[in-house]
């Protein structure tokens, strides 16, 4: 890639000529803008980016990108993306999935992509609902969600996508919010820079079937108060005045919210984010309002050898077809007579 000779691309250069067909007000629009901006900022050649999706409102995403795209089948995009990356490791391969697509029907494939650490950027649009099929509960829906298939309220516990990803051995786990453009672009760039599976959960508002499900930390009025924007090496402080922080309670091995300067708590008591600490990331991923902030940003990053790199390193082709002749004409062959 010779970046210097490429004409400077704008976000709109990454927009296809297809009419965008999400509902007005859907959070997917903001994510589309953020990804187009990310790619423009990164100056990636359009023909070397591939967006591979499953099925769902979110999975319509590739149509709107002026890159290569593959709108596959429900839940299985990680499998197709794995084949694509193994076939051509020079490609930038993105997987676009939803909470139903990635965690219900496609849970198996997501788990195995994460544990293999193949070099993909997996972006999960979590709206805690099945959008495309008109509002049924999803694996991330909160208990008690009223939906056409759970008219008396859902009774199953939701999956926490980030916790699950950490549990199955993901090496890069991050979170952001559809409308936090600056933060989202920053997280996406870090995901892109990471070699291996980068897993990004984006809280995405489905205005039609699950409006305001994330309001307790995304509403303008409470966002600053209830979002903890983690950064490696920085103290885990949050709040409008950044006056609250997280401390480890040694008695219970849990996180607690403290105010430095109050009750003898000092700045030094506040944990410093260490993105290579899987234990800490797992505790952060589990926090939610009320009582705790929602942790956003790169929760965990600890790069390791990628699947594609290791697999391809084992492949050592011999010269043009000779080897097969040896196989067939060597020990196996004899003349009868």
């Amino acid at each position: 890639m010779s970046h210097s000779v490429l004409p400077q691309l704008k976000p709109r250069d990454f927009a296809s000529d297809q009419e965008v067909r999400w509902c007005p007000g859907c959070g997917d629009y903001a994510i589309l803008k953020a990804i187009q901006k990310t790619l423009a900022d990164l100056e990636v050649p359009r023909e070397e980016s591939v967006f591979i999706s499953g099925i769902g409102c979110s999975s319509r995403f590739p149509y709107y990108m002026a890159t290569y795209g593959f709108h596959t089948i429900h839940g299985r995009a990680p499998a197709v993306a794995t084949g694509t990356k193994l076939a051509n490791p020079d490609l930038d391969v993105w997987v676009i999935t939803g909470d139903g697509d990635g965690l219900s029907i496609g849970g198996n494939h997501l788990v195995h992509a994460l544990r293999r650490n193949i070099d993909l950027n997996i972006i999960l649009f979590n709206n805690e609902i099945y959008g495309l099929t008109k509002g049924q509960v999803s694996p991330t829906s909160k208990r008690g969600t009223l939906s056409p298939t759970t008219p008396r309220g859902s009774v199953a516990n939701p999956i926490s996508p980030a916790t699950m990803a950490l549990g199955v051995g993901a090496r890069f786990v991050a979170r952001s919010v559809d409308i936090n453009m600056g933060h989202l672009v920053d997280v996406l760039k870090q995901a892109h820079a990471n070699r291996g599976t980068s897993f990004v959960e984006i809280f995405q508002n489905c205005i039609v079937f699950n409006d305001a499900t994330f309001a307790d930390f995304t509403d303008k009025a409470v966002a600053k108060e209830n979002q903890l924007l983690v950064e490696h090496g920085q103290p885990l402080l949050f709040g409008v005045e950044r006056d609250r922080g997280l401390r480890l309670d040694p008695a219970t091995w849990t996180l607690e919210v403290v105010r430095p300067g109050v009750n003898g708590v000092t700045e030094a008591d506040v944990l410093v984010h260490d993105e290579t600490n899987r234990m800490l990331a797992t505790m952060l991923a589990a926090l939610e309002p009320p009582g705790f902030p929602m942790a956003l940003g790169v929760l965990y990053r600890d790069p390791a050898a990628t699947f594609d790199h290791q697999v391809l390193a084992q492949v050592e082709p011999e010269s043009e077809g000779r080897g097969l002749a040896d196989l067939l004409y060597g020990g196996r062959t004899w003349k009868v007579g």
């Binding site: 023909e47 795209g69 794995t82 694509t84 193994l86 492949v315 080897g323």
Partner: protein
């Protein structure tokens, strides 16, 4: 009965007293089985006998006798594990009817074969005799009961004190007895000991040298014992030929064929009897730049192959029936997006988990029609081990040329059967040429279908100017989602037309036998050898029968209705289930027929009858001969 040569049963052919000048039986064909408990190595014993016989110029066909479990309980009829080796002077195309000689490591495995009617009347039995005087009273009782049952059947039973003999060389005869037994067979069939030794060394090449050495010592012990104690030898003189030959089983042939075809990625999930293709590839594929990817399930395996093909590599996926079921949605995606894909289905018994290790041809209709929606694609079936090799080249070429899904139907009989065949002369043209990655001219669409052929050029990620999103949704030439009905009608026609074009390039099948007559047998896949042997025997009896074997099942080979019109009666012979025509509640209309006959009736409007069996074993030529006898001159099924 002599003590030195324990022979039970009376046999007019043999004299039990003359081991020093053994009688030599000259035969054009001879069939041997070796059976043991799983893990005792009867299979490798049979395999080595088969391979060496092939190398000595004999025709050979071997069939594995496989229990469903890895370690079934010992001394259990259901656990019999081993091999049948049919050796001929000329080419051998199938496993035959029954075995002439069987080597059994215990009487229960032997009993299993007897009860499956696998033994010729008067067959020679070489049975490990250690169980006769076993400490365990129960085992002694089982032995006596078995001997009574077998004795009544009139076999010639020869006791072999293999365990006792092997104790001289090894503390644990359970590992190594197979080499002693191989020694007996080596002597009986006068096999080339240098070739046998080389095979043994090859088999143990990854183990310590002492393992091969001890095996060869045990082999020699078996040879010596046979020399001392057996009063007969079998001679199946090979007919010399001048062609270079190779010997392998069908799964090895598929693997080597995939390499010869320039395949670059094999995605799979372990399933019997398909798995060994990937084992075979695992040993060599990376040397040719290939990757074996074991996916998390069969669905993912199909997805990985599609993803790789989308990105410009030639990819295939290997499975068996249950895996084929799981892959169906992805097969539809391959058809809809016109992404080249080869799927090899090594069929086993079904439905559901069915008969995992046994042969069946029950996936034909699922392979052709199993994908919801209209999903035109190609289905072909190799009929021999040699064809298992070449079919991969054909399948890959069709997939690439037609941007199509190609399903290859092998089966457990081909997968594990070992047969020699002329060495393929590799051709560089078999290898896929790298896809065109030059910039896409402006305005060119990703599905610029040629109206005459339905063909179009695909774009590969990385190719400048080809940035489109391909989709499983109905779409137009520019891959835009079809929101009007005429687009779907048109794109469906284009996908179907490709297959019609392929059909036009096929030749009518050739007939085995006369061009017209009383009866035409139609087959597909691994039954070819058995059918043709049965037809040959029937024609020797003066019956007016011919046969025809189909390789292309979808699209069908042309000219069938015309060929069928020249015969009084047409019937298929297949290894899948069909109702008997006179079964309870069965009518001519509602009879569930063999899968190929179902297809042929629909496509030719000829009243094609069928005879099918699902016995968990390959068809026996003798059984097909019976069917021919009773159907010659019988007219159509009415």
């Amino acid at each position: 009965m002599s003590t030195r040569l324990p022979v039970v049963g009376d046999d007019p052919v043999f004299s039990a007293e003359q081991p020093s000048s053994p009688r030599v039986l000259e035969r054009a064909q001879y069939t041997v089985e070796v059976v043991s408990d799983s893990g005792e190595g009867a299979q490798s014993c049979g395999q080595i006998l088969g391979t060496v016989s092939a190398k000595m110029g004999n025709g050979v066909w071997t069939v594995e006798i496989i229990p469903a479990e890895v370690q079934p309980p010992p001394r259990n009829p259901a656990g019999a594990s081993g091999n049948r080796v049919r050796i001929g002077s000329g080419p051998v195309t199938n496993w035959g009817d029954r075995t002439d000689l069987i080597v059994a490591f215990n009487e229960q495995a032997l009993l299993a074969r007897h009860r499956l009617d696998a033994l010729e009347p008067g067959a020679v039995i070489l049975i490990e005799s250690m169980w006769q005087d076993h400490d365990d009273e129960g085992i002694r009782a089982e032995w006596s009961a078995a001997m009574e049952e077998l004795g009544a059947a009139g076999y010639r039973i020869i006791h072999v004190p293999a365990h006792e003999q092997c104790l001289a060389l090894t503390e644990n005869p359970y590992l190594g007895k197979n080499m002693f037994m191989l020694g007996i067979l080596t002597e009986l069939f006068d096999r080339d000991t240098a070739l046998i030794g080389a095979q043994i060394r090859h088999r143990f090449r990854k183990k310590d040298e002492s393992v091969a050495e001890r095996s060869i010592d045990l082999l020699e012990l078996g040879i010596a014992w046979a020399r001392e104690n057996l009063d007969f030898r079998v001679s199946v003189p090979p007919v010399p030929g001048d062609r270079d030959m190779v010997v392998m089983n069908g799964n090895q042939a598929v693997a080597l064929g995939a390499v010869a075809a320039g395949m670059e990625l094999a995605a799979m999930y372990p399933i019997t009897p398909a798995t060994s293709v990937s084992h075979q590839l695992g040993e060599m594929f990376e040397r040719f730049g290939g990757i074996v990817h074991q996916a998390e399930d069969e669905i993912a395996a199909a997805g990985v192959a599609i993803g790789a093909s989308y990105a410009g590599k030639t990819a295939f996926t290997i499975t068996s029936g249950p895996g084929l079921a799981l892959k169906t949605e992805f097969l539809g995606l391959a058809v809809m997006t016109e992404t080249p894909l080869v799927l090899v289905d090594v069929q086993r018994g079904g439905p559901s988990t069915g008969l995992p290790t046994k042969v069946e041809q029950s996936d034909l209709l699922a392979a052709i029609f199993g994908q919801p929606g209209d999903a035109p694609h190609v289905v072909l079936a190799p009929a021999t081990i040699e064809e298992c090799f070449h079919v991969m080249v054909t399948a890959r070429r069709i997939a690439e040329t037609f941007r199509a899904l190609v399903i290859v139907l092998s089966d457990a009989n081909l997968a594990t059967g070992v047969q020699p065949f002329p060495r393929p002369e590799l051709d560089q043209a078999w290898i896929a040429s790298a896809p065109d990655q030059s910039p896409v001219p402006e305005g060119k669409a990703p599905y610029a279908w040629d109206e005459q052929t339905g063909l179009s050029q695909r774009f590969i990620p990385g190719q400048p100017g080809g940035m489109f999103t391909v989709t499983g949704l109905a779409h137009d030439e520019r891959s835009k989602v079809a929101y009007t009905s005429d687009i779907n009608q048109w794109s469906s026609a284009m996908r179907s037309r490709k297959i019609a074009v392929l059909g036009q390039t096929l030749r009518p099948p050739s007939l085995n036998g006369d061009d017209a007559g009383d009866l035409l047998i139609v087959g597909w896949g691994s039954t070819k050898g058995a059918i043709e042997e049965a037809v040959a025997r029937a024609r020797d009896e003066g019956l007016s029968v011919s046969s025809l074997h189909l390789t292309f099942l979808s699209p069908l080979e042309p000219g069938l209705a015309e060929i069928f019109s020249r015969f009084q009666k047409v019937m298929t012979v297949e290894i899948n289930y069909s109702d008997e025509p006179d079964g309870p509640f069965v009518t001519h209309q509602n009879r569930r027929r063999g899968q190929l006959s179902w297809l042929l009736r629909a496509q030719t409007l000829v009243d094609v009858d069928c005879w099918t069996r699902v016995l968990g074993e390959p068809l026996r030529p003798g059984a097909i001969l019976e069917v021919i006898r009773s159907n010659c001159g019988a007219g159509g099924e009415r």
